[in-house]
Amino acid sequence: MAAKAIFKKPQSLSDKEFTYCPGCHHGIVHRLVAEVIDELGIQGKTLMVAPVGCSVFAYTFFDVDGTVAAHGRAPAVATGMKRAMPDKVVFTYQGDGDLAAIGTAEIIHAANRGEKITTIFINNAIYGMTGGQMAPTTLLGMKTTTSPYGREVDREGYPIHVSEVLKELSGVAYLERVAVSSPAEVRKAKQAIKKAFMTQIKGLGFSLVEVLSTCPTNWGLSPIEAINWLNENMKKEYPLGVFVDKVGELK
């Protein structure tokens, strides 16, 4: 019997090559989302909303109906879609500038309303696309192109903890923070994403998976150094874990 491809590009990904830098975690997360879509068999009824950010092209990377929202407004766009088409599966994909800065009001209210949408939230502690500016999630002391002296509380305030804030909102039905720094974590992240989608499919409310991710380019590190930096620094500030789970075990 011939060898079989047991790990291969999921069907819900288009053939387009990703525009991401070498080693950027965006690509890993894209693949996980696509795998979940494949496994749930929802490709034909999934609508995706890409953000403005490095993943602005994501609407072309997934082989599902897709659009790009204005910067930060993906949750509002998704709300409009889902309210128009309640039987479709709607997900957004957002960076930390997009979701935690300009889009703060939209994510909070989508979550609070319990919109039946799923958000994949890439927290890489920096603005990637625009060239490495400070994000609300940038760690204290971290130098970016707009915090050139290192982020300081008195000047730039504190790193914001998105999941910790969102967990206070009653509309949230699934909320987990994961990383994709190792194959084991990748596996867990996929489970989280799957649960998030299941939350939506079951109509339980709003679901979000925060993924701690690298931005080797703007961190000025090699892909592997970046993973180490993430493990050593980001996980301290942003501990992994499940914040809300109204889904329970998946069959």
């Binding site: 034909g44 599902v64 897709g66 659009t67 790009v68 407004r73 309210r83 128009a84 088409m85 009001a105």
Partner: protein, 355 residues
């Protein structure tokens, strides 16, 4: 003929939307249009539609983007400051060519201003308050009945051209009650089919992509040339206006919306005094009836544009007249509504000057 009912402008526009087949509304309260938002919150559940009060106008316009992406009839309404907040989103919607209907019940500005009727958002509505080369179709009703008719038209034009349409009203039109005949309910099954481009799930077909984005300027320009082609088509097909007693007129009043109905009274008053004056009322502010106004003005002695603003539409009037005659302007702003009497006084000054 349908029964006449006495309805508030804001509510009439809501009902008109429902009858046009709109089953989705996203919006945020703001005086003087809140009754429209409130009406939809009551009315839409009755027809199995969905009303959602958004957290802000920024959210609202992006919800419109999302809903319109699915090809569903959808609308929002707001007043001046709220419409300013929608500009980025409107630019996106125009770029993505999403059919959608906006109502701006204009109030006094700038800034917080006040809540009285005004027409000082003409530039914002017609020239593009947002960034980029785009156009809204802009309709300006002058009575509650016409508001009903134009809201219906708005949905049809939005669908026909895949373009956002703005109904530019003002606080007075929103707040006043007038007798209205509503059209029949549109059969939802007869609404335009957008399945060839809309996001409705890619089962059995290639995925649809909706965007105002192309990183390659050559491609982005191509998209823009596409919009421009559509705009030319709209200019050719959709210009609407109305005239009153212009045939024998020696003078021409130009005004739109609420101001135009007041000018209607001025025309009567002036004619009673023997002044031969007529009225030109653009109904579409974009596309503006340039040629039509030009020929209406032909042979007149003078032309007076009156607005509830410091002079905005008057620029389009000047562009239409293109130097062929002097264009006078009279305006009040900040929520002050000119009375027929004061406009008549202005008109007489011009008549004197021109005799």
């Amino acid at each position: 003929m349908a029964e006449k009912v006495m309805v508030k402008g804001n509510e009439a526009m809501g009902e008109a939307a429902v009858r046009a087949g709109c089953r989705l509304y996203f919006g945020y309260p703001i005086t003087p249009q809140s009754e429209l938002t409130e009406y939809m919150s009551r009315r839409l559940p009755e027809v199995e539609g969905t009303f959602l009060q958004s957290e802000s106008e920024v959210a609202a316009v992006n919800m419109i983007y999302g809903a319109a992406s699915t090809g569903t009839r959808v609308m929002t309404s707001t007043s001046s400051p709220g419409f300013s907040l929608m500009q980025e989103g409107i630019s996106y919607i125009a770029g993505a060519e999403l059919p959608s209907v906006f109502i701006n019940v204009v109030r006094g500005g700038p800034g917080l201003g006040d809540i009285q009727p005004a027409q000082s958002d003409y530039f914002q509505g017609t020239k593009g308050g947002g960034h980029g080369d785009y156009h809204l179709i802009v309709l300006a009703p002058s009575s509650v009945q016409e508001a009903v008719d134009l809201v219906q038209l708005a949905f049809d034009l939005a669908d026909k051209y895949r373009n956002p349409v703005l109904v530019l009203a003002d606080g007075m039109l929103g707040q006043m009650m007038e007798p209205v005949e509503f059209p029949e309910f549109r059969d939802l099954n007869t609404l335009p089919d957008h399945s060839s481009w809309a996001m409705q799930g890619c089962e059995g077909r290639e995925p649809h992509k909706i965007t105002s984005f192309d990183i390659d300027p050559i491609n982005l320009e191509k998209m823009n040339l596409g919009y421009q082609k559509k705009y030319r088509e709209i200019e050719a097909n959709e210009v609407r206006y109305e005239t009153e007693m212009i045939e024998d007129a020696e003078y021409l009043l130009v005004g739109y919306g609420t101001m135009a109905r007041i000018l209607g009274t001025v025309v009567k008053m002036a004619r009673n005094e023997g002044i031969k004056v007529g009225l030109f009322r653009p109904i579409t502010l974009w596309p503006f009836p340039y040629k039509e106004l030009e020929s209406a003005a032909e042979g007149k002695k003078a032309l007076l544009t009156v607005e509830m603003s410091m002079g905005q539409m008057v620029e389009d009037v000047r562009l239409a007249i293109n130097g062929k005659m002097h264009v006078d302007f009279y305006g009040r702003t900040g929520g002050v509504v000119p009375t027929p009497e004061e406009v008549l006084r202005e008109l007489k000054k011009i008549v004197e000057r021109s005799e």
